[in-house]
């Protein structure tokens, strides 16, 4: 018994030495930042159809627009809202009027001054049906009136108090663009949106790359930036490399400097590569989770929902398939949301208890294939999977879930499809299980995902409440929370809401929405901007 331990000793010494060496390397004084150079960024996200994130409004647009557009406020690493294009703000007693003080020394890169009229034009642009905005349109939904009180004073009047207003304003989909540029036709503005950011869009070769050049007059860094003035890099080449293995190969060969959407196997092997570093920046809003559709049988019965959650043990799968790069979550909310509550006790695995629950629920007969039945009907669960959203490791995890649910008598039918077909299945209610990521800044995402209003489809057919959770008590709590500006009161309400959601077994949380960047050690000063964990290269520089 002792022998292995003795053998391990030199190993652990070696490991500690390596760790110490790592510490020394890290504590070396950082070199002086140098100006110049072009950084090549390779994204695995889809190429945006439009570089103006007001139009539609998806994550790929948010990633790239963070380089050239800026928002009224930002968030720091502690989750506190900090000034950006707005320096100060006050909320009226009744929560219906917000006054923002704006920076008075900032210009858009086309020379148009940034002022209250510009802010007004942007909110109106988001609300204009011609813009066809989705994400930004939702974020400013409660804004009824906008008034440019003075050049540096803008007043918003709301239809109802909105405790999430500042969080909404911190998102890239509500960033502020030049009103002069917005007056151009949409195709032109999509090609070359104009903002106040540290870089300027100068060229877009479709299916290839976007070129971003330094804004020499830049002076509006967010309050948590490392330096002031213009960016250090001359330019960024923003390449679209859809294949994950190619992206990693290009990073290894030095053809690109930073990659996003790094896959677990690459992150794991990069840990042994001295010239590659990792940045793990989970996205805000909801954690990745499996929703149990309570809107129809068999999950309209809480016992069947609980039985499903008791029957699957996802931890070994997450550990092995993600090579230890993803941590199991026991919360509906992302770990970056301060309001998130983690409840591991709710999600314990117990196949025997699951079988008892199914017996009680009437699924007490077993057919020749080993699946449970009730009144001659098999206990079947349809699980559409978006292959555009679920990475291969996640798809394999779902296969493991399928296998362990079978032991208890659930038949899980996995249906991998492309994004459009996947939404088609959701819109026609042809699913019992689904995993749908949702990014939004702040705990108000709970209202979007679990308020019964969100079961009513948007005009496009979309609805966010995929668990089809309809509970008047929960609705009341979420509405109150969205209108409560007192932080601790709000926190309590969200805790209460989360306990209703998890105790009702409507969701099975898996892990944070994964957002791993790998980058060359020659890139310094690179970080993710806290609001939606998009990369920012304002402080970044190339050391060789």
């Amino acid at each position: 018994m002792n022998a292995p331990r003795i053998l391990l000793l030199p190993l652990s010494i070696a490991a500690s030495a390596a760790l110490l060496a790592g510490c020394t390397a890290a504590s070396e004084p950082a070199a002086e930042p140098v100006d110049g150079g072009t950084l090549v960024y390779a994204t695995g996200d889809a190429e945006p159809g439009c570089l103006d994130p007001h139009v539609g409004g998806n994550y790929p647009q948010g990633l790239i627009s963070t380089q050239y557009l800026e928002s009224l406020v930002s968030k720091d690493n502690d989750g506190e809202i900090i000034p950006w294009l707005a320096t100060d703000w006050t909320e009226s007693e009744d929560g219906l009027t917000w006054d923002f003080t704006l920076r008075d020394d900032v210009n858009f890169t086309d020379g148009t001054p940034f002022d209250a009229e510009a802010v007004k034009a942007n909110i109106e642009h988001l609300k204009d049906p011609d813009t066809a905005s989705s994400t930004g349109y939702l974020a400013v939904g409660k804004i009824d009136g906008i008034e440019a009180v003075a050049a540096d004073q803008v007043r918003f009047t709301l239809s109802a108090p909105d405790s999430a207003l500042l969080e909404s304003f911190s998102q890239p989909w509500v960033s502020i663009q030049s009103p002069t540029a917005l007056e151009r036709d949409q195709a032109t503005n999509c090609e070359s949106p104009v903002g106040t950011g540290p870089f300027i869009v100068t060229d877009w070769v479709k299916q290839q790359s976007v070129t971003l050049e330094r804004n020499e007059d830049y002076n509006s860094a967010p309050a948590d930036a490392e330096h002031t003035g213009a960016a250090r890099l001359d330019a960024i080449e923003w390449r679209f490399i859809p294949d994950a293995a190619t992206r990693y190969a290009a990073l290894q060969s030095g053809d690109v400097d930073v990659i996003d959407n790094a896959q677990p196997n690459n992150i794991s092997s990069a840990a042994d590569v001295a010239t590659i570093e990792e940045l793990d920046a989970p996205r805000p809003g909801a954690a990745n989770r499996i929703e149990l559709n309570s809107g129809k049988a068999p999950f309209d019965d809480i016992r069947v929902r609980e039985a499903f959650i008791r029957s699957v043990d996802v931890n070994p799968g997450i550990e092995s398939l993600f090579f230890g790069t993803a941590e199991r979550s026991y919360s509906v909310l992302s770990s970056v949301e301060a309001a998130g509550t983690s409840t591991p006790d709710v999600f314990t695995t117990d196949p025997e208890a699951a079988k008892t629950l199914l017996d009680e629920a009437g699924w007490d007969t077993i057919d020749s294939d080993g699946y449970r039945t009730k009144d001659g009907e098999r206990l079947s669960l349809t699980f559409p999977i978006s292959t555009n959203q679920s990475i291969p490791a996640e798809q394999s995890l779902f296969e493991q879930i399928q296998a362990s649910a079978k032991d208890v008598g659930f038949e899980v039918i996995l249906q991998p499809t492309d994004l459009s077909s996947w939404y088609g299945a959701l819109f026609t209610n042809e699913y019992n299980l689904v995993s749908a990521p949702y990014t939004k800044v702040g705990a108000d995402v709970l209202r979007i995902l679990y308020h019964s209003d969100s079961i009513i489809p948007a005009p496009s057919g979309y609805y966010a409440n995929l668990a089809q959770l309809s509970d008047p008590a929960l609705d009341a709590i979420l509405t109150t929370a969205s209108e409560t500006s007192d932080a601790s009161e709000r926190q309590d309400l969200y805790a209460e809401a989360q306990s209703i959601i998890v105790d009702g077994f409507y969701v099975l949380p898996l892990y944070d929405q994964q957002n791993h960047y790998l980058y060359s050690t020659s890139v310094e000063g690179f970080r993710a901007l806290p609001p939606v964990a998009a990369p920012t290269f304002y402080d970044a520089w190339l050391s060789n």
Binding site: A46, P129, A132, C190, V205, T246, N388, Y423, G461
Partner: protein, 332 residues
Amino acid sequence: MTVSTDAPTAASVSTPATRLRSLGWIARRVGGGVFVLWAVATVIFFALRLIPGDPVDAILGGPGSQASAEAVAQIRTDYGLDQPLIVQYFLAMGKLAVADFGTSYALKVAVAPYVLTQLWSTLVLTLASLVVAWFGALALTLATSGRGRVARALGSGFELLAAAVPHFWLASLLIILLSNTLHWLPPISVPGPLGLVLPVLTLALPLTGFLGQVMRESLTNAYEQPFVLSARARGESEWGVRLRHVLRHAALPGISLSGWAFGSLLSGAVVVETIFARPGLGRTLLSAVTIRDIPVVTAVALLSALTFIIVTIATDVVDRIVDPRVTEVAAR
């Protein structure tokens, strides 16, 4: 050297009657091509509406949009999506008939110039691959057929292996070998010829194997023909026999298959362009299908079909030039 004995009756080609027959033949091919284009457009039109997913989503910036009712209604009117399907179909065909490909749902730009720039990139890739595969197959078969057993076994073994390898696997292998290990080539497409090497190799190697297999067979048959014997009897060297007499026969099935091969290269381009992050029709098609950008899908499909038709006609013409017997048979 004059017309050799292995190309019989070449003199009979240019009588007025045969020329007329040739014109009629070309007219039939072109008419058939137009029919194929119409069929492609029709199938694409209905197929894209039968699969789940609303084209409005593509216009709204992708599926999952929560845009306002006004926005959705406006888009339906603007793009004519509120009309009955059959009306939409005839409107679409009418526009296609005058080469109006419309505006991309996702990119909001005119489809025709956008897709044409992507076509150029794909043409460079596929034609380069075709040429490389052709020369590769010729060199391989000429060097190893009719030789000793070992050479033949090596040659046909390579052909079998190459023809069976899937593109995505070969691409990964080439990246690991030539890019990550030997550091000779960039793993992603970069401007200039260097960035073209890996994508072209990936597409060309399996085709080399396939063409090689076909050429080897006809080459082996040609060796047994009397004209080879008589050439040898005239004292022609071994390479002289191969290049001047046997090559033509070996090339024939290769030429006939080039049209088909080009089609397979176009479909292979979807994988290769995605893996090597190279712009082109394949990648454009993939992303357009994913988000149901119908005008772009239609244009890419039509353009691919058109290119395929042109190449097929071209190979048929070349076939008739290289082997006049084809005309004779067709005319009978």
